[in-house]
Amino acid sequence: MKVALFVLAVTASLLLVGCAGARFTTKGGWSSPVVYESEEGRRVIYVGSQEGRLLALDSLGGLLWSFPDVTIDESPLGRVLYGAPAVDGERVYFGTYSGELYALDAQTGERATEWSVNPIVVDEGHIIGAPTLAGEEQCFGQTRGAVEGDVLVVGSSSGSVYAFCAADGSPVWRAETRGEVWGSPVVSDGTVYVGSQDGHMYAISLASGTPRWPQAFKAGGAIVAQPWVADGKVFFGALDGKVYALDAESGGPVWRKPFDGGNWFWAGVISDGEKLYAVTVKGKVVALDGDTGIKRWETNLNAMVISSPVLVQKQGGVRLMVATKEGEIAILRTEAGEEDGGRIPISDAENKQVKLKAPLVVSESMVYINTMDPWTTQVVDLNTGGNATWICPPSCDRIGR
């Protein structure tokens, strides 16, 4: 009997260790692609792979370079990328889950030599949001490259927000929040807007790192999405299930009351100048009046949504594209929210549906998608039938998932 007990205990223990080993600690990473078009009209797609590499692809999916370099069998970073890279033409900047901030040469993928420390270990936290580039006087005069004056702003799960001179990686300032910062900061008119899991939206001076509002705005729940700043307003959703609109100058609420969506708002909101579109984690899509917060329409996709939606031109009209976690893209008419045609299934080489968590990226009528399980980068051209085309793999088939 005791032997049976012992065997049972060992089995359970192994089961527990098994749990720890795989599903519950593996970080997937879902960095969205960035499409950069040079002045000569050359289009390069920068994207993070699920195993921890940053890749540069041409518009047909050809691999320009990878970091770490897959062609010489360098090991991947192992620590994954959640935030999209920031690109300024000369360099590509990206943060990793292990809290490292890299600057790479955009042409070659080699570490930027102007940074004396590369990567910068920001702190003991994780970098989950994307780094944001913005021009700021403070970094002029310290530069040795074409990115003179740019400041790189990045948040950490330690609760800090950092600014570095993009040219040489020198620190500019550090601001504190009381919760983890997962969302990407947004810079507008010299102010950094960033949400924190302490439930506050912060406005920070880009020049000095000091607070811009008399006090940070307190929402009813944690903020993990990046805000949308337009027309003097800051819009964002929070995990209390509400969408807020604040005055960008004062931090005061603009709407009489926040919109209550009944479930977490994880994905970022987006505006077409008139209406604000937001999606709950359970797939409820709402269009709100940007001035009043009153609901214009609502539709339910009945699927989990983490990926931020995008607006795209299709046949002369504007459509809202929303990716569900289970690998479908819904196209909604912005007038009333009805679906425009069937959903676009995104599959892997074996025709199995993939996971969509990274924000979609639009360049003209092309929508770029970074998938998970397995990792692929695909593109949908809405003007040519809307079918998904792979751009990587097969050209990136040497890169593991």
Partner: protein, 309 residues
């Protein structure tokens, strides 16, 4: 399978913990302790049955020895006779596995719940969003949960804490588990079983103490709380600390006249004295269990057989 697991174990567990967290002033450590208490209360009947089964197993040990002696070379017959005797005595051979079996899914579920409720990665947060009941309106606003409790980060692996916690938590888990096992330890007259018992008594706590290092401090807290509550419940049910503090054991009235070892039924004890010298008493003495035996127990005949080995 995963869907059933989520619906039956994981989601309810996550939501109960979330509600407890909300009620207990946003203290996740307290929520885990109260949750442990609730689990222990929910499995109280099983625990009672387990204790009863253990006690009965102790009682029929001499008879089992007798059967083994009777059929030394026929294992099948011995096993049949043993099963028949157990049936007559109303002993379920796997009766004591109940609470243990029940606890395994709870451990695994709790581990997953802690990881999910204290998300450090977007994946964990995404999973949590799928488990929270939307009809519990306030649970949405609880995220992120306060993960600190008595200097522990409940979501962080024990080995990633400071030196003190890294040393103390495995010791606490191991010691509490050892104490609980020691309390229920069943003395056996069979040398092999007795040696397995001894191995179990040390092996399990050592193993779990070691595993503690790899798991979040919240799960270690559950293990310590579960063992501590288990000890208290067992004391309340049996009225003694068992082998943990043998002096506290209440001898049954018959034992005083029969001179039997602990837990042994009065009608079996002295009559079924084993002949192979594997005296339970001797082992008791070696463990110090016989030092405070009731006065009557000293009258037990001793042939020195045990010593002669």
């Amino acid at each position: 399978m995963g869907v059933i697991w989520n619906a039956v174990i994981l989601s309810p567990m996550i939501n109960v913990l979330a509600v407890l967290y909300a009620v207990l002033l946003h203290n996740f450590g307290l929520a885990i302790i109260v949750f442990t208490l609730l689990v222990r209360l929910a499995t109280l009947r099983l625990t009672q049955r387990q204790l009863r089964s253990t006690r009965k197993m102790q009682e029929i040990q001499p008879k089992i020895q007798e059967i083994r002696r009777k059929y030394p070379n026929d294992k099948q017959k011995a096993s049949q006779a043993q099963m028949r005797m157990m049936k007559e005595a109303g002993v379920n051979p796997i009766g004591c596995l109940g609470p243990m079996v029940i606890q395994f899914p709870i451990w695994i579920g709790l581990y997953q719940s802690i990881i999910s409720l204290l998300p450090t990665s977007p994946e964990a947060l995404a999973r949590l969003s799928q488990h929270l009941y939307t009809w519990l309106p306030f649970v949405d606003t609880l995220v992120p949960l306060n993960r600190s409790f008595l200097g522990l980060d409940l979501g962080l692996e024990v080995s990633k804490h400071g030196f003190m916690v890294t040393v103390l938590m495995p010791v606490l888990v191991g010691a509490s588990m050892w104490a609980q096992q020691k309390m229920t330890a069943m003395p056996s007259m069979d040398a092999r079983t007795e040696s397995t018992n001894r191995m179990m008594l040390w092996m399990m706590p050592f193993m779990f103490g070691f595993f503690t290092l790899q798991f979040p401090a919240g799960l270690a807290l559950y293990w310590v709380a579960s063992a501590a509550i288990g000890i208290v419940i067992q004391y309340r049910i049996t009225g003694s600390w068992g082998n943990l503090f043998p002096s506290s054991r209440k001898a049954p009235p018959e034992a005083a006249t029969q001179g039997v070892g602990q837990g042994k039924p009065a009608d079996e004890g002295s009559k079924e004295e084993p002949e192979d010298g594997q005296s339970g008493d001797d082992r008791q003495n070696r463990r110090g269990g016989g030092r405070n035996r009731p006065a009557g127990a000293r009258r037990r005949p001793r042939g020195g057989r045990g010593r002669g080995r």
